[in-house]
Symmetry: C2
Subunit: 442 residues, 2 copies
């Protein structure tokens, strides 16, 4: 009895996130390896890769999903996606709430202000809220998609397609049952709006959604909500315009579409890299400049404690803000009339740095294990880290060693630099203090 | 008279650095455009590119130097290199000294400790010292090179080669008069030691050299010197080992050399990316993994106020140190029993961020203007930013627009993010203070 108690004590919430994630991946691997999951046998590595890709809501795939997985296999995939997406989001927020009663005063007030939960009962209530939220959003989207796909594919197939894509989109997984992902629906307004709406809401994070639903006016929004909403708007508008201009004359992508369809498709292809990973045009056909922009968008990612990954939009915004403030000689970076604490700036920069290191190391290992040109390899690595799932088409030809490397990258990218931080932290009480010294930099 | 005084007042030292640099480039362009400078006429853009490449000590070249430039042209190139390399180094240190009497107490003490110059007389004395230092080092190296090249090429040609390569190496320019740069000397110990010695000393910075010459023991070294010396040792040893292993079986590079020659060549090719830019093997023949490593080494660069560029070794070390400290929960990052001030950490991270932005924007523009694969373009951009001069062989085929973009990148890379910071700074006295607020990141 004593031993169990001791064990529970040392099992921190972030370690719980990481290990329950690993557990889900292992179960998923076993299920996908069952004979009833696939039409033809797949290797253990391929099963591991697919389970990891689904649980981390990445969407990279080493084989053609519909040609390889049976309905059973596809349902397993869908459950892994729902657990890895919304499941982790709920878990992360619950951890925040629980930690809120253990961490310092400022964090505590922030968490209490955001969630208004101070008790275990509150945490349970919160989980109930999140489940309701998911059911409502996914149901509305399901009905909307059915209006398109039931007339097109019949009742059974149309409803199945709708369920699968609703779950895949809301959880930012990017898996699709259509050949060439969503390319055949380029320019379709309902598909574009419903699916992008789903993954944007899922990727912005429940913290933000809850804040917006609770507050009456924009002025009352928390700083986090303001940054996420305005940041998302600005990044999406800029990215859409850039892709529209860069691809305008590219006959392989949007060049031959009508002006309106060009806009719809540019919009979709501009918002999908920030973790969703669906595609309405073949990624490999895009201009190199568009690919570079897509790389940046993937790296930035979505919101904290959401179904999205990447370094997170707020992290990116704070790094930019702090850098601009530094070069303008402003000691205390501020936005929306709020000063950003230096602790938050350090955290953002550390997350940016550690993410770059993870991508660099993984890319380096892949250049050793794979014989593939540089850009597709870089694209695949960033896509895996930000759990996006866009690919220049090399996933199917990657070596087993490369698959394992990508599994690690997806896992690290999804449990996130922040969870890693919780895991590694030893709140050392430093009783000594060294004297300060100067170093020349730059 | 009053007007002149007013004008001098607003002309800050960093603006002086930037504008004298621009002035040197303009004069260089005019001189290289003279009929006596080239065997056949070159375009204005090519002249501008070559002058910029020389003045910023980059070493990228749009044409074959020996086949295009006359002796007059080559001497112009050499003078531009000496001005841009050692000249800027001296200038930057002088600016530091002058600013030392205007900036805050901590910076002031640091500068006084480092240089012991508090007066204009001191600054003049310092310039004298730096000139003596350059003459001594370059003379010793000149004699050493002559012992190899006079027997091989005769008195006149041997001495000319020696002068040119001494200046090109000490200033980290990387220009060479031999076809395929230094490939024909792969494994030659004297050439390897003398040239790498020159560019390492030049690239480590005069601050460090002076500190070592003044102090009797390692314990007395400043933190900056300790970080530069140990950092340089560690990075160079690791890079050498990696290249040695990665290229061991590559027949195109070091695969067919003897074990000892493999080591010499790996060493040279490992130390040259941190701004020198000479090459003993064809860069395009290296493994992709080696190229990725080279990209990182180029980005890191050399020492502050030296003939090297890049984000600087200390900047890189502090970013790493701060990130590791953050994830280990250490509030005050320390190294060599000294705590790094948060001001220095912010500066390092801001330099890292702004450098990444410059490279990203330039690369994006180049993907629009050029029809070249991604890796060579990325390599060229980082090489230009860190004024390294290594290339995957695309410089000669770049469009005029691309040349202008690279000129900007070389200029920004050389005058440095720090000078840019001096230029942009408005030391705003902020009388207002916003309340702090939390943001979720990562
Ligand atoms: K995804
Ligand atoms: K160089």
């Amino acid at each position: 009895m004593k031993a169990i108690k001791k064990r529970r004590k040392t099992f921190s919430p972030p370690a719980l996130i990481a290990s329950s994630f690993l557990f889900t991946i292992v179960i998923g691997t076993l299920l996908l390896k069952l004979p009833i999951a696939t039409y033809k046998p797949i290797s253990w590595i391929d099963a591991l890769f697919t389970a990891t890709s689904a649980t981390t809501v990445t969407g990279l795939s080493v084989f053609d999903i519909t040609a390889t997985l049976t309905i059973f296999g596809e349902v397993v995939l869908l459950i892994l996606i729902q657990i890895g997406g919304v499941g982790l989001m709920a878990f992360a927020v619950a951890v925040l709430i629980i930690l809120g009663r253990k961490v310092g005063m400022t964090n505590r007030i922030f968490i209490q202000e955001t969630f208004n939960y101070q008790s275990i009962g509150g945490t349970v209530r919160f989980v109930g809220e999140i489940v309701t939220f998911v059911i409502v959003i996914e149901s509305i989207a399901f009905i909307a998609l059915c209006t398109v796909w039931i007339p097109e594919f019949g009742w059974k197939q149309g409803m199945y397609y709708s369920v699968f894509h609703v779950v895949s989109a809301f959880n930012n997984a990017g898996f699709s049952l259509f050949p060439d992902n969503l390319s055949s629906f380029a320019g379709n307004p309902i598909i574009t709006i419903i699916l992008s709406g789903l993954f944007i809401i899922g990727g912005i994070g429940f913290i933000v959604v809850k804040d917006i639903l609770q507050k009456r006016s924009i002025q009352q929004w928390t700083l986090h909500t303001k940054m996420m909403i305005f940041g998302t708007l600005i990044v999406n508008v800029i990215a859409t315009l850039f892709l529209f201009i860069l691809e305008f004359h590219n006959e392989k992508t949007i060049g031959s579409l009508s002006f309106i369809d060009k806009l719809w498709t540019s919009y979709f292809q501009a918002v999908t890299p920030r973790t969703a990973g669906f595609n309405m045009i073949i990624v490999g056909d895009m201009e190199e400049s568009s690919l570079l922009l897509t790389l940046l968008l993937m790296f930035i990612g979505g919101g904290s404690a959401s179904t999205a990954s990447g370094i997170k939009l707020t992290t990116f915004m704070i790094i930019l803000l702090a850098t601009i403030s530094y070069f303008r000689g402003i000691k205390e970076p501020h936005i929306f009339q709020r000063t950003i604490k230096s602790e938050v700036i350090f955290r953002s920069m550390a997350i940016g740095a550690v993410s770059s290191v993870i991508i660099f190391v993984a890319l380096f290992l892949l250049t050793v294990t794979e014989k593939v040109p540089f850009l597709p390899l870089l694209f695949e690595t960033v896509s895996a880290f930000a759990t996006v799932g866009l690919s220049l088409g090399i996933t199917g030809n990657i070596s087993p060693a490369g698959e394992v490397i990508l599994c690690f990258v997806m896992f690290l990218g999804r449990i996130g630099p922040l969870t890693l931080f919780f895991l590694l932290i030893h709140t050392k009480k430093e009783s000594y203090h060294y004297s300060y010294d100067q170093v020349q930099t730059g």
